[in-house]
């Protein structure tokens, strides 16, 4: 319990820190933000009005507290470009990014774990060298370029999948799945490689541990040793990198949505930057960062629950 409280407090502290960073980075906008937003040839009256709307006539600390207070009430501010509450705009976009992220995570887990185990089981000189190169390649490929290649192969040449846009789940489940599959795979490819490498390495490390020797001298079969003893211990460290992988998936979706023209958060983010819709950018960045922190927090807690060494302390 104490542990959870500690983690919870450091989680909130980090969120505060993140929000402060984001807020003050946006204060660093050179010149008058209202002027920048509206362009140099804007009417002074317009500028003044926007300044007021942005609350620029008050101190930064005041505005920060205001912003945070708004966030607590679910008020993320108003978009300049759309003239709509940021929250409403995000609500439209979230399902797309969420679908993409979840599908990509499913691909990562469903391909990474079995392949990692398989490769650990058939470890050998050449296997490990080949695996090393292939997985490094997976990590090294820029996901958006891999997206291009997928479009080229499956969309243009084989014409199996749509290459841009999306179908909502409610409309056509298979169609939606098809439209999300390629972008999810493009995001997942690096993470799959990471999971394979990581799981394989922890399995091989765990296999050298004394408790495995104990299991072996009990006369257990190698299969039992792997699935009954080694795997449990190997999955715990994999869990610790899941936070990182989720973050990576969200980061990846920012670019991939632009490759596949999916109208999700990433797509919106880039459009907002181009159109200098700063309130929207600011809220969106915070939103994504808090999401990542939350997932890391959950992973942390989960990790403690799975591991009896820590579970029973807390």
């Amino acid at each position: 319990m104490r542990y959870i409280l500690y983690k919870l407090s450091s989680f909130f502290f980090t969120i505060v820190m993140v929000s402060v960073i984001i807020f003050f980075v946006f204060q660093l906008l050179p010149g008058n933000p209202a002027q920048i937003i509206l362009g140099m040839d804007a009417e002074p009256a317009q500028v003044a009005q926007l300044e007021k709307q942005l609350g620029l006539d008050r101190s930064a600390v005041e505005r920060y507290l205001d912003w945070v207070a708004g966030l607590f009430q679910g008020d993320l501010g108003e978009s300049l470009r759309y003239q709509l509450p940021v929250r409403d705009i995000l609500m439209d976009r979230i399902p797309i990014t969420a679908s993409l992220a979840i599908l990509s995570l499913i691909l990562t887990v469903c391909m990474g774990l079995p392949l990692g185990i398989l490769i650990a089981r058939f470890d050998g000189k050449w296997v490990s060298v080949m695996l090393n190169i292939v997985t490094q390649l997976g990590i090294s490929i820029p996901s958006f370029w891999f997206g291009f290649i997928l479009i080229l192969v499956f969309g243009v040449i084989l014409q199996l999948f749509p290459t841009y846009g999306y179908v909502p789940w409610s409309e056509n489940f298979i169609g939606a799945l098809q439209s999300f599959f390629l972008p999810s795979l493009a995001i997942a490819i690096g993470n799959i490689a990471i999971v394979i490498r990581y799981l394989r390495n922890t399995i091989l490390d765990q296999a050298k541990m004394d408790y495995v020797r104990t299991a072996r001298v009990k006369g257990l079969k190698e299969r039992t040793i792997l699935y009954g003893h080694i795997l449990r211990n190997s999955l715990i460290p994999v869990l610790t990198i899941m936070g990182l992988i989720v973050a990576d998936t969200l980061g990846g979706s920012i670019i991939i949505e632009n490759v596949f023209s999916l109208p999700g958060l990433g797509n919106l983010l880039i459009q907002s930057i181009t159109s200098r819709d700063f309130p929207l950018v600011q809220s969106m960045v915070l939103y994504i960062a808090v999401l990542v922190l939350l997932i890391n927090f959950i992973v942390d807690i989960l990790y403690k629950i799975v591991d009896p060494r820590i579970r029973q302390k807390g």
């Binding site: 104990t214 299991a215 072996r216 001298v217 006369g219 079969k221 211990n233 009896p308 060494r309 029973q312």
Partner: protein, 328 residues
């Protein structure tokens, strides 16, 4: 004596390194008789642990038995395949390792880790296994066995974990138990408890034991006979009291004399000159020749054959080969 339970004959083990093959064990020959506790003593790198690993077929990947025979109940274990080995391990021969803190799986309960052996080697039902496990836990002196059955290793102290490891080794009632430095990692007072447990096991069970240690004190307390190993060779063997009182091999003599104790206060300790050769530095002839103060001409070239002096006391040293027992 009766027929040996385990007879190791002329066993050689080699390591394969990037720069070649090296002999780690050479000409290992010894027997373990029923109901006997045999000690293996030597300094680090002498091959005492490797010997036990070879007997159980759990050598490191880059090591292999190159020649010899390991007969257990008159069957050659070295001809066994992995499946047959699995029937032997835990059931016929079990082993207890040095480091109790890491020997148990941190994610499984104590009960599961002990009863797992029964699951593998017996047809007992789940409840029978649990009953037997709790009995075994009580037998090795684990308090509140019912409660500890559900505990995880991190909740136990080092001494208690070692008792769990001992329970794992005993529960399938093997005929041979190998204990590889089982008390070395423990505190003095806990070591005393665990040694007491070993003495109890020795008295109450019919199992034979191979007890590996670098500590003559421990050997003296638990073992009937002892093998002295040096640089991959058994250089001397005999009953513990005989060897401690009348060591014959210059290495054994030096080793025993260099043990510090209060009676040697104020005196310089005896030391063996030089250092133990690494695997790569080993040569032919007597392995101890380079450090031996009683070295003779043939020691550098000729490997000394084992010579039985009296009773079970045998030594591999040229001082005793040709002319029989010379003065010691």
């Amino acid at each position: 004596m009766s027929t040996p339970l385990l007879a190791v004959e002329n066993m050689n083990v080699t390591f394969q390194f990037a720069d070649g093959k090296y002999k780690a064990l050479e000409d290992i020959t010894f027997s373990v008789f029923p109901d006997e506790v045999i000690g293996i003593v030597g300094e680090s790198g002498c091959g005492k642990s490797l010997t036990s690993q070879a007997i159980l077929g759990i050598l490191p990947d880059n090591a292999a038995v190159k020649q010899g025979k390991v007969s257990y109940k008159e069957k050659d274990l070295l001809k066994y395949n992995e499946r047959e080995w699995q029937q032997v391990r835990g059931k016929e021969i079990s082993i207890i390792f040095q480091e109790p803190m890491t020997a148990l799986n941190p994610l499984l309960t104590i009960g599961k880790q002990i009863s797992e052996v029964l699951k593998k080697h017996t047809n007992l039902s789940k409840s029978e296994r649990k009953k037997r496990t709790i009995e075994m836990m009580q037998e090795v002196g684990l308090p509140r066995a019912e409660e500890l059955y559900k505990a995880y290793p991190h909740q136990l102290s080092g001494g208690m974990r070692q008792r769990v490891v001992i329970a794992i080794a005993l529960i399938a009632e093997p005929d041979l138990i190998i204990a590889d430095e089982p008390t070395t990692a423990l505190d003095v007072t806990i070591q005393a408890q665990v040694l007491e447990l070993f003495r109890k096991i020795k008295l109450q069970r019919k199992s034979s034991m191979i007890f590996i240690s670098h500590d003559w004190g421990v050997i003296r307390h638990v073992c009937d006979r002892v093998l002295v190993m040096y640089a991959g060779h058994i250089v001397e063997e005999g009953t513990v009291s005989e060897i401690l009182k009348h060591p014959k091999h210059p290495y054994t003599k030096g080793l025993i004399q260099s043990i510090p104790d209060h009676r040697k206060r104020g005196m310089e300790l005896y030391t063996i000159p030089g250092k133990v050769p690494s695997l790569q530095e080993r040569k032919g002839g007597c392995p101890f020749a380079d450090r031996c103060l009683e070295r003779m001409e043939q020691c550098g070239e000729l490997y000394p054959e084992s010579r039985l002096l009296e009773g079970t006391h045998a030594v591999k040293c040229h001082l005793y080969t040709k002319s029989g027992v010379t003065t010691s």
